[in-house]
Amino acid sequence: MNDKLKVIAGLIVFFAIFSYPFWNNIFNKENPEHKPVLSAEAEKAKECVRSKDYMTKEHMQLLDIWRDKVVRSGERVYKYGNGKEYNMSLSNTCLGCHTSKAEFCDRCHDYASVKPYCWDCHIDPKENK
C-alpha cells in the first residue's frame, strides 16, 4: 500500500496554485491602456522637471524630497540642471502640467498596483472644479 492518490491530489493542488499567473490572465482581460498620456500643456513644455529616465523611475523620491523641503525648511523653489525654476508643489506644479491625473499618474499606478496615499489630503485640481 502507498499514498499515491493523496500525493497526486496534493500535486494537482500545488500546480494549480503555482500556475496561477498563467491561468489567471486567460480569464481577466488586461487593462487596455497603461501608457500615460501627455497633456497638451506637457507636450508644449517638452520636458519634465528632470530627465525622463529619472522621472519614470524616481518621481516618488523627488516628491518626497520636495515635501521635505517645503514642510520642514520652508523652501519652495526647485532648481535643477536645466536652469528653470519650479514651485515645489504636488497639485500645482505636477498636476498643473500633467493636467489629467486619471490619464497620467493613475494609468501607471493602476497597472503597477500602487495607491499613493497623497490624495487623502492633496487635491487633483481638475476633480474639484
Binding site: 500500500m1 499514498d3 489567471n24 490572465n25 519614470t56 493602476d110 497597472y111
Partner: protein
C-alpha cells in the same frame, strides 16, 4: 574561514556576475529575461513531479509512533488527541499545525553543561522564531510579487500590499555625504524581515560551532542565494530604482506568452536581471536539493500516520510469501539419520 560557505558564496557571486555581464556587455537580455526563466520553470515543474512521484511510489511504512503525548488507551486515561492522534481527522490537525506552526521545531532543545558539570537541556526557541519569520515573510513577498503577473491586480494582493506597508519607515536626509530618501515608494516590512531572518539563520550556522560542523555547501548555498535575491530586490526598490512599468510589460509577457519587443528588454536595469537570474537558479536548484522539504514535510512518516497500531492490524506492505521449513518437516526429512545418531526425535516414525 570555512570552505563550505566560501564556496557557496563564490558560486552565488559568480552567478550574479554572469547575469550582470551577460546583460550589460553581451546584450543577452533575451536569454536572461525569457529563455532562462521559461527553461527554469519547466525544469522546476518536472523536477517536482519526478521527486514527488518517486516518493509516492514508496511503500508507506508501519506506524512510526514517535509521539509527544498519551496514546489512546483505556477510557479513563486521557488521550492527547493532537500529539498522539488515533483517527484521520486528528492526524490532519497535527499535520496542519506542523506545517503552519512548525511545532517540531518548537520543541527544539539544546544540550549544555552546567557550572556543576551536569548535562542539561535548554529549550532553544530562536531557530523556531527565525524559521517562522523567514517562511512567512517569504510567502508574503512571493504573493505580493503577483502584482507583476496579474492585470488587473486582484484586490487581495493590493490589500496585502497595503497592510505590509502600513508601518511607515521614512527617512529624508544625508548619510555619509550622499542624500538618501526612504519612504516613497512605501516600505514593505516583509522584505526587511526576510533579509534579516536569512542573515540570522546564516549567522546561526556560522557562529554555533556544532551547527557549523554539520553544515555543508548545500546548506549555505540556498542561504546565499536567497540573500542575493532579497538583497537585489531591496536594492532595486529603495536605492537603485527600476522602471516598474517596463518590468511589468516583460513579466506580463511571460505570463501570457507574448513577449514584448527587444527595446523593452534592453531598457531594463541589470540589477533586475541579476534578481531574476538568481530566482531562476533557485527554481532550478529547488527540486534536487534540501528545499524539497516543501513537499517532503507532507510526507513526514512520524507526523502523518495516526497511532492506531493497537487498534488495527497493519500488514507489512512489502511482505511476500516466505518459503518456510518447519521443524516437523525437518524431522520428517532427517528422522532416520537422527535416530541412527542417537538424537532425540518427537515422533518415532
Amino acid at each position: 574561514m570555512n570552505g563550505n560557505y566560501i564556496f557557496s558564496l563564490i558560486t552565488v557571486v559568480v552567478l550574479g556576475l554572469l547575469a550582470f555581464f551577460g546583460t550589460t556587455v553581451f546584450g543577452l537580455q533575451y536569454l536572461f529575461g525569457v529563455i532562462v526563466p521559461y527553461a527554469c520553470v519547466i525544469w522546476f515543474v518536472f523536477g517536482i513531479l519526478k521527486r514527488m512521484l518517486g516518493w509516492a511510489n514508496s511503500p508507506v511504512p508501519f506506524r512510526i509512533t514517535t509521539t509527544c503525548g498519551q496514546q489512546k488507551s483505556l477510557p479513563w486515561i486521557k488521550q492527547n488527541r493532537i500529539d498522539n492522534p488515533s483517527t484521520g481527522i486528528e492526524t490532519i490537525i497535527r499535520m496542519i499545525l506542523e506545517i503552519v506552526l512548525f511545532r517540531s521545531l518548537f520543541r527544539n532543545t539544546k544540550s549544555d553543561i552546567t557550572a556543576s558539570g551536569k548535562v542539561t537541556y535548554i529549550w532553544e526557541k530562536w531557530l523556531w522564531v527565525g524559521a517562522l519569520a523567514f517562511h512567512y515573510s517569504f510567502l508574503v513577498v512571493i504573493v505580493r510579487h503577483m502584482r507583476f503577473f496579474t492585470d488587473p491586480v486582484p484586490y487581495l494582493i493590493s490589500m496585502l500590499e497595503y497592510f505590509d506597508s502600513l508601518f511607515k519607515i521614512e527617512f529624508v536626509g544625508e548619510v555619509v555625504g550622499t542624500s538618501l530618501q526612504i519612504g516613497l515608494p512605501g516600505f514593505f516590512i516583509s522584505g526587511l524581515v526576510l533579509l534579516a531572518a536569512i542573515l540570522f539563520l546564516f549567522s546561526r550556522r556560522v557562529l554555533i560551532s556544532q551547527v557549523r560542523y554539520i553544515s555543508l555547501p548545500a546548506d549555505f548555498f540556498p542561504l546565499f542565494l536567497l540573500m542575493g535575491i532579497a538583497g537585489t530586490g531591496i536594492f532595486m526598490r529603495y536605492f537603485s530604482k527600476v522602471d516598474i512599468i517596463s518590468i511589468k510589460e516583460l513579466t506580463m509577457g511571460l505570463a501570457t506568452f507574448c513577449i514584448p519587443d527587444g527595446a523593452v528588454l534592453a531598457g531594463l536595469s541589470s540589477v533586475f536581471y541579476i534578481h531574476l537570474f538568481l530566482v531562476c537558479i533557485l527554481l532550478a536548484y529547488f527540486p534536487f536539493s534540501k528545499l524539497m522539504h516543501m513537499g517532503g514535510v507532507f510526507l513526514s512518516p512520524t507526523r502523518n500516520l495516526p497511532n492506531n497500531s493497537r487498534a488495527r492490524r497493519h500488514i507489512n506492505p512489502w511482505n511476500y510469501p516466505v518459503k518456510v521449513h518447519t521443524y516437523d518437516e525437518y524431522e520428517d526429512e532427517f528422522r532416520e539419520k537422527m535416530i541412527e545418531a542417537g538424537l532425540p526425535v518427537e515422533k518415532e516414525s
